[in-house]
Structure formats: structure tokens, C-alpha cells
Amino acid sequence: MAHPFAITLDVGSSLANRTGSWRNVRPDYVHRLPPCNDACPAGEDIQGWLAEAEAGDYEAAWRSLTRNNPLPAIMGRVCYHPCEGACNRARIDATVGINSVERFLGDLALEKGWRFAPPAQESGKRVLVIGAGPSGLSAAYHLRRLGHAVTIREAGPMVGGMMRFGIPKYRLPREVIDGEVARIAAMGVEIVCDAKVDNIAGAMKEGGFDAAFLAVGAHIARRAYIPAGGAAKVLDAVSVLRSMEGEEKPLLGRRVVVYGGGNTAIDVARTAKRLGAEEALIVYRRTRDHMPAHDFEVEEALEEGVMMKWLSTIKNVEAGSITVEKMVLDETGFPQPTGEFETLEADSVVLALGQDVDLSLLDGVPGLRIEDGVVRVGPDMMTGAPGIFAGGDMVPSERTVTVAVGHGKQAARHIDAWLRGEIWAPPPRNEIATFDKLNTWYYGEAPATVRPVLDLVRRTSSFDEVVKGLDETNAVFEARRCLSCGNCFECDNCYGVCPDNAVKKLGPGKGFAFDYEYCKGCGVCAQECPCGAIAMVPEEL
């Protein structure tokens, strides 16, 4: 067709007009740190494995997860999920049930028998890990992945540390612990039980270890001076819970008083109930608001019939009864004695006043600094003694399983670098994907048909459904509620909303690229990116 001059134009001729020259700001694809990732003490890439789980790639999700944390089935039961507390979704309807999905993946892995791959190469270095609790197991796992020969020496008869001996079975079934630990051992980690180490320097030299990671935890029950009559039955929570693992269950009697306000106190009280106590009473010197125990645990305990006595301290214990003094909070919130006393019936008193670390193995090790009963470590998790690292409850930390797991991973990285004569510098953290960076209109409301299930899901106690005859709608639904904060999930919005057709789609899994020849810098893409994965930056002029 011969086109009349100027009146009729050929297709494609506008491409000669490079409108990219118009802009003074430019869009860039960025990765922002999801608040869940940021909050996770174990440094999991939660958003990453949720993205795989939502697509139904469960094994891939599990492998992504375990790249950072080898114990998801345990985490899914005992972690206090600070991720959920930080989750941006909470500001739309409710937080994503991350913990529930982690449990689902962990249990699925156990069911399917998914294994960890052994390392591709051996480094030739040997690392000694002391303590088969969460911190030690995590360190051993990560060190093994990096190719080092690892031996765990556990003082107790079984692996698990506080997971087995501090957390009751109804929260953490023992098969779960055994399953997840076995998987680590199967990588080639040597685990020796009943092998307490008294002298770290000697143990290292004897075993030819190039470095050591100490994770002995805090197993020594803190005691308080409470006058007690001869026949009074006063126990400590640590040993009570530990003895639950043995053949003989502790005899606590019909009326059990637990002294303390932390999670351990709750665990003991609920354990007492399960052992048949008619009455389990927690005595705490302040009020519920001040209790260190997590609120949901208090709730569950109350649901189970545990009773609470606030603002009380135990003055003395006799056989069959205790005397408590009423306290009142002063202006600073500190409890003050009132001089009013009360007698309560009690067959036993269990003290849950905190735990201390058994530091004896560190005797004679030069360079260590011990403060407030814990070992000081640098940001590289190394103690004052070169080559001796420590983590978990024995170093200053928030004492949770997840934090301990995080320490193990951190320490492993630093140990690995130290063994090579290098320093491991953590990569700079990306900007956090805060709520204001999201465009939440795109995240749909939970449809009414699935709402009843969602209500169930929101009650964290009820994810037993996931274990029993899994209904995919639960775990996958939860995973799909993730907003993917700060990380592109290939929703095609940028590709679709550009008025200038200046976004190129690179293919599934490959994301997008801006066509800067034509991008005018309008910013619609950044505005309409649901998850805040695009930033507008000024052009250099």
C-alpha cells in the first residue's frame, strides 16, 4: 500500500521517539526486607518460603526454610513467632499464620522423609559443639553444611536440651524432636550423649578440634531463699520438667503451687494439671500485665483450669501449706510488701524463678568474660578466648528456642570464617518494607466461603487441623495471605500499569526490567506495586 505523504503513517514509527529522555526520576526494582524476616531471630527468609508454599512447592519451601533453620516442625510448635507480631498483614485484617505454615512444612517434611544433603566438600576442619539443644544443633547443622566435621557432646542422656527437658510434650511431641535431630545427624554430624565436658580446653585438644561452640544452656534453677519446714516439698521447675522425660513422673500432689511468672511457670502448672493435680496455682509477685509469660500461654493455662494468684510472694513453706504475703505495686511498678499474709493449701511448691548457666566447663579458660552469670561474646559470637564461640541461653540473650537457633547459625558463619582466617561480615540489611510502602488495595479480603476456617486458623491452638488429614486450603491459604512485603511476586502490575509500555516481562521466575528508553518516570508502577518492590530514584542529570 502506497501511503499518502504525511497523512498516513506506518506502524512502529513512534518507537523512534525515545521518551525516556523526559524523566527526572527513574523506577528501580528493589528488594526490601520484609518485617517478618527482620523480626525472625533465626534469620529465616520467611517471605521467600511462604512464596514457595503458596504455589504448592512444599518441598522447595521447606528447603528454603531450612537453609536458615533446620528445625521447622519444632519451631512451628514452640516459637513465639515475633514474625507474626511484625507482620504487615495484621494492619489489613489479621497477621499471616506464619508459625502454622512453618509447622505444616516441618511436619510434611517429617512425613515425607525429606533429607538434608550432605556437604559437597569436606573442609578438613573439626568443630566441637557442646550441648545438643537448639543452639548447638543449629550450629552443628550450619557448620556441617559448610563442610566441617562436627561432633556434638551432650551432657544429658538425650538430645534436645530445653526443648525436651523444659517444654512439655503437649506442646512439643518428642517424636518431632527426634525426627528433626536425626535428620541433622544423618548429614554426618556426630552426636554423643551422656558426654559432659568439664574442661573445654582439654576436650578440644584431646579431640583435635579446631574450634568450639558452647551451647550448654541455662539448666540450673535459680533459687530464692524461702524458709521451708523439714517436710515441705519444694522443687524447682527445671528438674520437675526434666523428670517428666524419665520413667517416673514427679509426684506433685493434689495441690501444686508454682512460684514465678515466666513461661516455665506456666509449663509446670499445665504439666501439674496433666499429672492429675486438682489444683495448680501460679503465685506471682506482680500482675498479669507484668508476667513475662506470653499471653497466649496464660490464656491456654487459664482455659485448662490453672489458677493465678497475683501480687503475692511466698514467705514460707510448710508441709501441706504455704504462707503468702500480699504485695502492692508502687508508682514505679515495683511490688512492695503490704504486711498482709494468707495461708494456702499446697502439697508441693515448684520454684520457677529463672535459670542460671553451669559455667564450670569454662574454668581456666583465659580471656573469657563472665557477667551476670552469662558469658560475654562479641558480635561474632566468639568469647574472649579465640576459637571458642558460645550462644543460646548461656550468652546474654532473650531466652527462646528461636533466638538460640539464630545464635547457632550466626556462630557457624563466624566459625567458618575464623577457620579460614577470614572475617565474616554480614551483608548490609535492605530497607525494611514498612506498611506505608505497600499498596494494600490489591490484597483481597478473605472470601466468605473460607472465613469459618480462617477464624479457626486465627486461634493458634487449633492448627492441629493441619496435622490431621491436611486440608490444603488451610496452610496454603495462609501462605497466600502473605503480602510478599518488599519482594516482587510477579503480579504483573508494573507490566500492566505503565502507560508507556515501558516494562519488559522477562519470563516466569525472572521478573521484569524497565525499558529506560521509553520510561517517562511517572511513578505509577511504584505506586501500584502491591508489595513495595519498586523505588523511584532521582535521575542523575
Partner: protein, 345 residues
């Protein structure tokens, strides 16, 4: 009031998509088959309007035109001809020697797009090429004012043309003058924000979609660039019908509205969520469906980001006309049933 249908729940695909959460409203969704995604999500989309055009940054009309035409191209297997009225869309896409249209396209005059399209459709019928379909398109100026006669004629004859009006509420190409689609109180160059009643006056204006409904043509719908799924569904539905059809798309104009270029879609969304722009469908003279408001918002949320309404918020006071605009929105909400009695979500 006709039965209202929450259109997102009508068919099975939509139902499944709702379960998919993130993909329900986004352009694409990696978790569903390509066939169930929008046209815009596809790498095969026609890009009927491609890069290199001279629209302002963030132009809603450029976006709306590509959305609508790509959908129509898919619906017709690429057998489509477009006739364009004079206006922004025509000017920024075909300045000699560059055209950014990739489909057969014609521009005649300001007021005759509907009539020219009628001629094209007749020619195609005569040539036995009825598989080739015709879209006429123009801005609100070229549709509701100067193009109204030809539009009404095309409707009355039930010519087989889909007319798409890109409504940015003013004559933008000539420098932001008032059209009969300009909302009350809005500042334009011919309704300046001065004097006793700054901006456009109340009691004027024309809502052509209802006039189209009154013509009893087979299909009428309104849509916005903020809801791509809805827009594509409507274009696809329209292309399956023979006869006169009308689609009016709300397309914010950053320049004319005095808004940030990145706010284009956000403003269209707010126009819907405040009830300012009712989204509905009608067939043969009766309203058959509406798009419910997901998250109702007060009209001030829509007005504030636009400088064309800035005079309503001077010195921290809210002009009483904001309340009148709110009443207008409330009337829309009631008339079309845009908000469910029970809260959603």
C-alpha cells in the same frame, strides 16, 4: 432498581481467583493458568498503543486506551479497526512522522468518530468481512459535547460499533477547558477558581452513560483504569455483542486535574470508592449490574490530592460545596446500590 450482582462472584473462574488472594485484583497471577489472567498480563498482548507516544507522564487515557484495545484485539483475534476523534489521544499518538498505534486506525474530525465508525462498519459488512469489528473512541469533549449528535445517531441506528469514551472530565488537549463532563466545583481554564463560585458550577453537566442507557442499546458500561479485571471483562463482553455499545472509562489526567503523575490509578480508585463515579452495566435500557464499593471513603479523600479542587480546602477550611459533592456521591451510592448493607471483608 434492577437486581445488583456482585460481579466478582458470578463465574467459577472468579471464584477460584478470589481464593488466590494476591492475584484477585492484580494485573497478573503467577498461580493461575495464563488463560485465566488478564490480557495485560500476557507477553502476547497486542500493545495496540505502544511506546514512544507523547502523552504526559502518568496519562490515564494512554493506559485506558491500551487496556481497552488490547482486550478487544484478543476478543476479535486481532480483527479490529479503531476510529479516533480529535483530542489528546489522537494528538499524542500520531504526530507526523510517528504513530504509536499498531492496529488499523483512523482519525477524521472532532465530532464525527461515531459516524465514521458507522461507515467503516457498513463497508466491512458490504465486503463480507463482518469478522472485522469497529471501535470508535474519543475523549469526553469529543463524545459528550461536540460528538454527541453523531453518537446519538449511531445509537439510534444500532450500528455495530463499540464507542469508548475516555473521560478525563475536560478538554485537556486544548489546555484544560470545561466540558459537560467536568464535575461541579472543578477548576478548569474556563471555570477558573475565582469569584463567588470558584470552579465549575453546580446544576450543569451531562452523564452520557445514562443517556446511552436511555437509547436502549444492547450494552452500556462504565469502568475505570483502576480496575483492570472489570474493564477487560466489560470490553470482552461488549465485543461479543453486535449492535451499538457504549463504554465510558474514567481516566484521570494528572496535568488537567493537578495531580501527581503517579496518582493516576489511585485517583481512579478513589473516584469509585467515594461513589463519585458509579460503575455499572446496562443492557437494552436497564441497569443489570454494579461494581460494589470495596472500601467506602469520604469524597474529600478523592478531592484533596487534586489541585483542581484545591480552592475547596483553602486555609484549612472545607468549603461547603464539599458537602454538596458528598451528597452527590451519596446519591450515586443509593441510586446504584454501590455499598452492601453488611460490611464486606
Amino acid at each position: 432498581m434492577a437486581d445488583t450482582i456482585d460481579v466478582a462472584a458470578t463465574d467459577e473462574t472468579s471464584q477460584k481467583l478470589r481464593y488466590y488472594q494476591k492475584g484477585t485484583f492484580t494485573v497478573g497471577n503467577r498461580l493461575v493458568d495464563a488463560a485465566a489472567r488478564t490480557v495485560q498480563a500476557s507477553e502476547e498482548r497486542s500493545n495496540a498503543l505502544t511506546s514512544g507516544h507523547r502523552a504526559c507522564q502518568g496519562c490515564g487515557e494512554a493506559l485506558g486506551a491500551r487496556y481497552a484495545l488490547d482486550t478487544a484485539m484478543r476478543a476479535t483475534g486481532g480483527r479490529l479497526i479503531a476510529v479516533n476523534a480529535t483530542g489528546c489521544l489522537e494528538v499524542f499518538t500520531t504526530p507526523y512522522p510517528e504513530t504509536s498505534w499498531q492496529l488499523p486506525w483512523m482519525h477524521s474530525l472532532f465530532g464525527n468518530a461515531a459516524a465514521v465508525a458507522t461507515g467503516v462498519a457498513a463497508a466491512l459488512r458490504v465486503k463480507g468481512k463482518s469478522d472485522v469489528r469497529v471501535i470508535a473512541q474519543g475523549g469526553d469533549g469529543g463524545t459528550t459535547d461536540i460528538g454527541f449528535q453523531c453518537l446519538s445517531g449511531m445509537f439510534e441506528r444500532n450500528d455495530d460499533v463499540l464507542y469508548i469514551c475516555y473521560d478525563n472530565e475536560g478538554y485537556m488537549n486544548t489546555g484544560v477547558q470545561r466540558s459537560s463532563a467536568t464535575p461541579p466545583a472543578a477548576r478548569t481554564a474556563t471555570t477558573p477558581a475565582v469569584g463567588e463560585e470558584p470552579g465549575n458550577v453546580f446544576g450543569t453537566g451531562k452523564f452520557v452513560p445514562r443517556i446511552a442507557v436511555a437509547h436502549r442499546i444492547p450494552y452500556v458500561a462504565t469502568a475505570t483504569v483502576a480496575d483492570l479485571h472489570d474493564l477487560e471483562r466489560k470490553v470482552t463482553k461488549a465485543m461479543a455483542i453486535r449492535g451499538a455499545r457504549y463504554l465510558q472509562i474514567d481516566v484521570p489526567c494528572p496535568l488537567g486535574w493537578g495531580a501527581a503523575s503517579h496518582d493516576t490509578i489511585r485517583l481512579a480508585r478513589l473516584a469509585v470508592e467515594t461513589g463519585f463515579y458509579p460503575i455499572f452495566e446496562a443492557e437494552h435500557g436497564r441497569v443489570t449490574g454494579v461494581r460494589k464499593i470495596r472500601d467506602p471513603r469520604p469524597v474529600a479523600d478523592y478531592l484533596r490530592p487534586q489541585k483542581r479542587f484545591a480552592h475547596l480546602f483553602r486555609a484549612g477550611h472545607e468549603d461547603p460545596r464539599v458537602a454538596r459533592l458528598q451528597a452527590m456521591c451519596d446519591a450515586n451510592i443509593e441510586e446504584y446500590g454501590l455499598v452492601d448493607d453488611e460490611t464486606t471483608g
